[in-house]
Each structure stands twice: as C-alpha cells, then as structure tokens.
C-alpha cells in the first residue's frame, strides 16, 4: 500500500435520480464537514423527476478548494446504467464501491474494488417496504464511513442535521448507515490510500449555504415585500426558500398577516409585470428566473428602464439557448441581460461571485434599484445557486434602507407643487418620484413607456426624446460609480486575469497552481455592469490579461474590449468554458500556461 492520502480526495456518487440519493449525499457531506474538513459538493442532476442518472461530487481538500475537480478518487457506483462509463472516470489507484451484482469482467485492474451487495442488504436488513429504496442509499454512507474512517459521532451528526425538521427519521436512517458500516467492518480490509482525519483551522466559523438560500435571505433583509415568480430550474428554489423564510420571519401569528406577498404568476411576463407594478407603487419588489424567463421579460424590462421603475430581477443562469440544458450551469446571459429590451437600453447588473455575495448583493440590489429607479439584475448561476458552498457566516446589515429620491407630501408642499418626474434637479441624471397615494394635488403623474418630457407628459418631440435618453445615460453613469467595485488582488505580475461570478472558485485554485509553478497571476473580479474604470486601469497595468468565463462567445471579454481604449484592446485574451459542468481550475491553468508559453 502507498502513502496515505489524507483529507484530499474527491468522492463521486453515481446514482439514479428520484431515489433518495441526494439525502444520503448530504448526510455524508455534513458528516465530513463536522470533522472540520472542508467540503465542496457539486450536484449534477438531470432535468427529470425519477429514473435518470445523477451524480454527486464531493470534493475534499485541506485548503478548502471549492471548484469542481475532474479527478475522481472514490467512486460509489450505484447505477448499473452508467457503471461502465463511471468506472472510466476513476483515477488510477482510486477506489470503487459498487453494487456486487454489477459485472466486473474485463474491468480495470488499476483500481481497488469494494463490492457490496446493496440490494440484498437492503432486502434483508431494511424492514420498511416503503422506505427501502431511499434507505438503500444510506447503506453506502455507512460503507464510505468505514472506508475513510469517519467517526460514528460525525455520521450521527450528519443525519441529525439533515433531518432537523424530521427528528423521527433520524433513527431509521442511522440504522441503514449501520448496515453499511457493519458490512465494511466484517468484509473488507483497507486496500487504498484514502482516509479522513479530523482537522482544524479552515472550517471554523463557516457554514454550508446554497446561493439561492443566500439570495433569498438577502432579499428578505433587503426589505422585499412583493415577489412574483414562475417556476423554472435553477431559479425556483430561490423563491421557495423565500416563501419558507417569510413564513417564519414575516408572519404575525396574532393577526395571521404577512408582511410580504409572494405570488406564483402565470408566466414570466406576468411575474416581472407584477414586480414592476409593485415597484412603481413604492414596494421593494423582485422576481427570479432563468434564461427562458429572462427572454420573456425583455419587453417589461425596457418599460421599467424607460419609465424608471425600481425592480430587482434575479437570473440564475443555466445553459441556453432555448431550453438548452436546464440543469447545467452557464454564464451566457451576461451580454443579453445587460441590454435586455429593444431600443437603447442598459441595465445595472450585479455579479455575485460567492454565496456571501449572493446574500449581500441580493440585499443591496434593492437599494440600487430605489436609488437609481431602474431594474437591477442579479446574475447568479446553477452552480452558485443550487450547490452548497462553505462560507463565513453572513453579517447582519448595519445600513438602513436607501429608498432613493422620493418626494413626500411635505416635500411637495415645500416645493409648492413645483416638480417634474423626469427633471434632472441634482445634475446626476436621477430624477425625483412620488408614490401613488401621496396626498397632494401635484403628486400624481402619468407613467408611460411612450415618449415623455420632463413633466411626464406624452411627447413625440425629437429634442425631448434625445434629452431624456441622454439623461438616462447620465443616470447610468452616476450608478456605475456607485456599484460594487471590482475586487483586485495584485502583486505586480505581468499577467492578469479577469473573471466574474462562480468562476471565482476555479480562479482561486488556478492561481495557486500557477504560483506553485512559478507563474504568479494578478486577478480582478468584476462585480457589476456597467464596468468600473478599474477594469481598464487593471488592463493598462498588465502585458496580457485573460478574461475567463463560462460561455462560448467570451461575452465579458467583448464587453471589456468595448470599454477599453484602442491601444489596450490587444492585451486581452479569452479563456472560455461552456460544457455545462462548473469550470474546474485546470480549465484556466492549462490554457493559460500554453498561451503564455507562446511569445506574444
């Protein structure tokens, strides 16, 4: 047996969707996390309810790397349909726990097999006919526990944590885990190098949160009161979490009243329309969707931009175009969303790169929307939104809401009713508004998506139209300076790298890999559109700058090129990853090494 490999391995569970395997995987994840070991789970699931292959990858590294790895150390083969292919993914020297009944004729000889009669064990040891299929998955948790040396106490914690709201389910699941654990101890001796040992120093103070949970919490803390949505993967869970959190934190049991309305609309057109109606009437409002829904929201987004109505729109990106791969991740909506709608339109777009930023930017999006009276898009993606990520606990907000420039009855009295809805009083392009219901004869105005002048009157006048469009442009320029600036990590290297969103995790790891190979790379992470001036300045300080993103066409690369002075454009290079799997670090480090080896 070779040197032991401790706390540095990737487990891949290949199962059948709808069979309860996700619960087993989460128990395993929580048990390992409880040992103080960093975990990075990625769930690869089909667009299907039951019966198709699904994979769960649990990456474990002492450093806490959170990007996907493309190397499998331990395979849990539970799905006969994908068994042959799954076996190919295991790295030489790896371990394979598989259903004993799977054929191993002409199978690989460079891996260690642990055949387990899962079906027979389930039949013999699990009493409940109705739960047998689900609990069979728990048996492999026990086997893995035995194989890697996970303490029983950690497994117990994993089950209790997973079944927080269903304590009755704890014992039956533990019993199933015990079946696997016992089978390991009675039948196998350790033949592979992988093991887990409790550690300290990385996970303390950290929690496991999905991006959509974080965004839902952020929206709640940001004061959202009207939410309209239409179910779509991978966005649905954001609003479902919001409903669950609202039932707990926005419900008054004495009056049965809720300080929020969450409406499941008839489609995405209605969803964004309701959110815009609410924003117009003065509520903090939002919708959440994914690619196909964003396409449907284009017309209304233009209305909100042009009529200057605050609204927050979450886009949890998935693979397009069209239906695309509904359960695979992507960053390919950035270009479309930025100018969503016909005509000259430009939106504020926030780009969270961590779950903590999903929380913070979701919360702050409502301030930006109110401050600038315009739609604010928050672009997350399936990887960030639906996987669990290790994160420091989120901070309680210290800032009050910024409701922007709203004139009250008293303001209007002071102004003797002299105001114009679309007048630029402060020279920042941001006008004042009144809310419906303001008790002053001058408060009312007519909001429209057709041409309007400073007083909100209908006009087809050429000058009035151009003047208004120029002011809107000026307003976006004001907003650009107020949006979250890029995060820059720089040490004078000649080569830089720019990324956004969930690519961040892979960039962190790729930079470590490259630094270890003697190639330090500076890094700028874009967090908002329109682009900050910091981006061009960063490019100016580097000989080459690689823009890394998860789409085919290099959409951010294009946006940056457009924003650069001509002499800097040639410094930009593009690295793209777009197969629907979260980008691994090697998809950055390898091409960068190759490209940098070629003289510029």
């Amino acid at each position: 047996m070779t040197e032991p490999i401790v706390n540095d391995l990737t487990i891949q569970a290949a199962t059948v969707n709808g069979s309860g395997s996700q619960t087993a995987n989460l128990v395993l994840t929580r048990a390992i996390f409880h040992m103080g070991i960093p975990v990075a789970p990625k769930n690869v699931f089909p667009s299907n309810i039951e019966g198709l292959p699904t994979w769960y990858q649990l990456r474990i590294t002492p450093e806490g790397h959170m990007a996907r790895s493309d190397k499998v150390d331990i395979l849990i083969a539970f799905n006969v349909a994908t068994w042959r292919e799954d076996l190919k993914t295991v790295r030489p020297g790896g371990a394979v726990i598989h259903e004993e009944a799977f054929a191993t004729v002409d199978a690989r000889t460079d891996v260690t097999y642990y055949p387990v009669p899962f079906s027979k064990l389930a039949k013999a040891k699990i009493q409940s006919d109705t739960l047998r299929k689900q609990l069979a998955n728990m048996i492999y948790v026990g086997v893995v526990g035995g194989l890697l040396g996970i303490p029983w106490e950690a497994l117990e914690h994993g089950v209790k944590r997973q079944f927080l709201s269903k304590p009755k389910a704890v014992q039956v699941n533990l019993d199933a885990i015990k079946v696997g654990h016992d089978y390991w101890q009675d039948n196998f001796s350790k033949q592979d190098p992988y093991r887990l040992e409790p550690m300290t120093g990385v996970v303390e103070g950290k929690v496991l949160v999905e991006g959509n949970q974080a965004a839902a919490l952020g929206a709640l803390m940001g004061g959202v009161t009207v939410v309209a949505w239409y179910p779509i993967t991978p966005s649905s869970s954001l609003c479902e979490y919001l409903i669950a959190y609202s039932d707990r934190f926005r419900f008054d049991p004495t009056t049965s009243e809720k300080n929020i309305s969450v409406v499941q609309a008839e489609d995405e057109l209605a969803a964004v329309g309701m959110a815009i109606g609410a924003g117009w009437a003065g509520a903090r409002s939002m919708t959440s969707t994914s690619g196909p829904g964003i396409s449907l929201m284009a017309e209304f987004s233009g209305l909100a931009y042009y009529a200057e109505v605050p609204v927050v729109i979450f886009d949890i990106q998935r693979i397009g175009p069209s239906t695309g791969l509904p359960t695979r991740t992507s960053q390919a909506d950035i270009g479309f969303v930025y100018t969503l709608s016909h005509g000259d339109t430009k939106h504020l777009v926030l780009l969270p790169g961590t779950v903590e930023e999903c929380y913070e930017l979701a919360r702050d999006a409502f301030d930006y929307a109110d401050r600038f009276q315009t739609p604010v898009f928050v672009l997350s993606d399936l990887d960030l939104g639906m996987n669990l990520w290790m994160t420091p606990e989120f901070k309680y907000p210290e800032k009050q809401f910024d409701r922007g420039k709203v004139l009250s009855k008293e303001d209007l009295e002071r102004l003797a009713g002299e105001w114009g809805r679309y007048r630029d009083v402060d020279g920042d392009g941001v006008p004042y508004r009144t809310l419906p219901g303001t008790d002053h004869p001058a408060a009312g105005y007519f909001t429209r998506g057709s041409g309007h002048d400073e007083q909100a009157r209908y006009t087809e006048g050429a000058d009035a139209y151009a003047r208004n469009m120029d002011r809107l442009s000026h307003k976006l320029e004001t907003a650009r300076h107020a949006l979250p600036p890029p995060v820059v990590d720089e040490s004078g290297a000649p080569v830089g790298l720019i990324a956004f969103g969930s690519t961040h995790a892979a960039v962190i790891e790729a930079r470590e890999t490259l630094a270890a190979a003697g190639k330090s790379i500076d890094y700028l992470r874009v967090r908002a559109l329109p682009l900050s001036d910091d981006v061009a300045a960063f490019v100016a300080r580097h000989a080459h700058v690689y823009v890394v993103e998860q789409n085919r066409d290099g959409q951010l690369y294009d946006l940056i090129r457009l924003a650069l002075p001509p002499e800097l454009v040639g410094r930009l290079r593009s690295i793209r990853h777009y197969n629907g799997q979260p980008i691994p670090a090697v998809a950055i480090s390898e091409p960068l090494m190759q490209l940098e080896a070629v003289p510029a």
Binding site: V263, I276, A281, S285, E299, G444
Partner: protein, 340 residues
Amino acid sequence: MSTTLNRVGLPRDAYKGAATTLCAGCGHNSITNHMIKALYELGVEPHLLAKMSGIGCSSKTPAYFVETAHGFNGVHGRMPALTTGAHLANRQMIMLGVSGDGDTASIGIGQFMHLIRRNVDCTYIIEDNGTYGLTKGQFSATADIGSMQKKGAVNTFQPIDPCAVALALGCSFVARSFSGDGKQVVPLIKAAIAHRGTAILDIISPCVTFNDHDGSTKSYSWVKDHEESIADVSFIPFFEEVHVDYEPGTVRDVQLHDGSHIVLKKLGEDHDPTDRRAAIRVIEEGRAEGHLVTGLLYVDTKMDDFATTEHIPQRPLRDLGEDELRMSRDDFAQFMSEFA
C-alpha cells in the same frame, strides 16, 4: 353644476384630464365622460386612484380623466400584472384598469384570465370596439363571425366574449354596457369600483373611423338597434340613504362590501344577478337571438379578494420599514447557526 362640490370637497372639473387625442365621436370619449361623472359622484379622492392601462386607443384614455391621479400606461396586454403588483404594494389604492378588446382578448387574454382567477380587487373596463384602431382597422378577437371590415373583408373566426370568459372563470363581478348608454354605464362603473374583487365591465364602444359601418356589429346603429338591457341599474353609494319605493317584486337589491347598494329594476324577464349559470344563459340566448345583452350580469359579494386571501395587512406594504421587515439580530444569529 360644475361648481357643486362632492363629498370630498371637489368640483366635477377636478376629475377632468388632458384633452382627448382620440377621433371625434369615438365611443371611448363618451366612456371617459362617464368615468369622470362616476368618480366625481362617488367622491373618489384623486390621490387614492391608480389608473392603469395597456396599449391601444383605449389605453390612452386614463390620461383624459382625473389628471391629478397617478396613472400607468404599461405594455400591451399586461395591465393586469401591473395592477396586481401595484395593488399588493398598497391595497389602499383604488385600482382602475382600462383596456381594449385587442389588449384584453388577444395579447392579454392570459393575464385577463389570471387576474380574474385571483380576484384582485380592481375595476377592469374593456372599451370594446372589435377592431384595432391605432393600427388602422384590423379585426380584433371580439369581432363577431361574419362581421365586416370597412373595406369589405369578412371575419371568419368565432369571437371571444370577455363576459362569457369571465363568467366561466367565476369572476366575482361581470357586466356589459354600451358607451352611448350613460344611464347604465355610470352606475355600473360606480358599482364596479365599490365591489371588492375583480369587476369586469365590457363596454361596447364604437370606433367611428374603422368600425362604424353597415356590416359591423360594433357600430352605433347596430348596438342601438340590438341592445337589450336586462334591468335598469341604479347605484346608491354607502354615504347616501337607501330609499326604494318600487313595487314589491320589481327590484333586486345587492348590497356591496362597503355598504353601497346596486338596485336593479326588472325590465323583461327577471334575472338573478347572483346566479352565474343564469348569467351565462342570458348571454347565450341573447347571442342566439341576435341581441346584445347589457346590464349587471353577475355579482358575488362573498368571494374573498386576492389581498385578503394572501393575508396582506391593510397598511400598505410599501410603507413598512427596516424594523418590520428585517428579522432581529438574535433571530439572524440563530438562523445562520442552523446552516452549520
């Protein structure tokens, strides 16, 4: 007349808007005047009125009444979504939606139906002329089969009857009228506003430019010749005393949530406005006989409206601040710890 002040101390002129830009003689202009009269007589406070609309000739009209109220002329066929959202943000507002037959029965049929399904508290007026006026006279989905365009083209498709659709969906208030029949339209608008829930009021409103010719079933002359009112409608607002001295058995009295009354005086066959199946039958029979049945077809005063179903507080959601909307520090800390 115009200097008489209503119950909130406003003259009739306070309910006027900008000058209309629609064609002279357009039925919509009559409806605008009926709206002004109804709102003035009801004593609606302008700042509590939200005028909502989509796109088309009809959807321009909110600019022509109650100039001091807030209005929102949104996108085509999507007035219901904007109305729903605005209502949720502030349920104190009186939501008054104006739409057309294209805006409702074609591009907006989905939102129209789902608004009804939720029973959002609003008035939804369809200024129904069976044609696309703004784009110069194409048929709309409410045009009757066999009716003709100005230049002779014949409509070959079945019409969508917004009232029949609304009834089928269980809408809590369904009425039809004619723009030229102010005596009927004004009390119906008042009743629709007083009703708590979605009130659909389909008003046949002839397009003088593109659909007022022989061969049209939405022309002034056709409607005048074929209108059959099911009952005389009068509306007694909550702030006026009810004194009805009709002969017993000749009137029906419907009391609304706010204490207002709709009094219906029998004209021909007795129609019970709380009988949904009877309402559907009345429409179908009128259609078979070539009549346009007008009046209050159906009302259900018991059904909960959307905001009630959703348990939204009476205090506008838009007025809630950090204290009410953010969980406490302790709750937040507890909540975060659950992710460990």
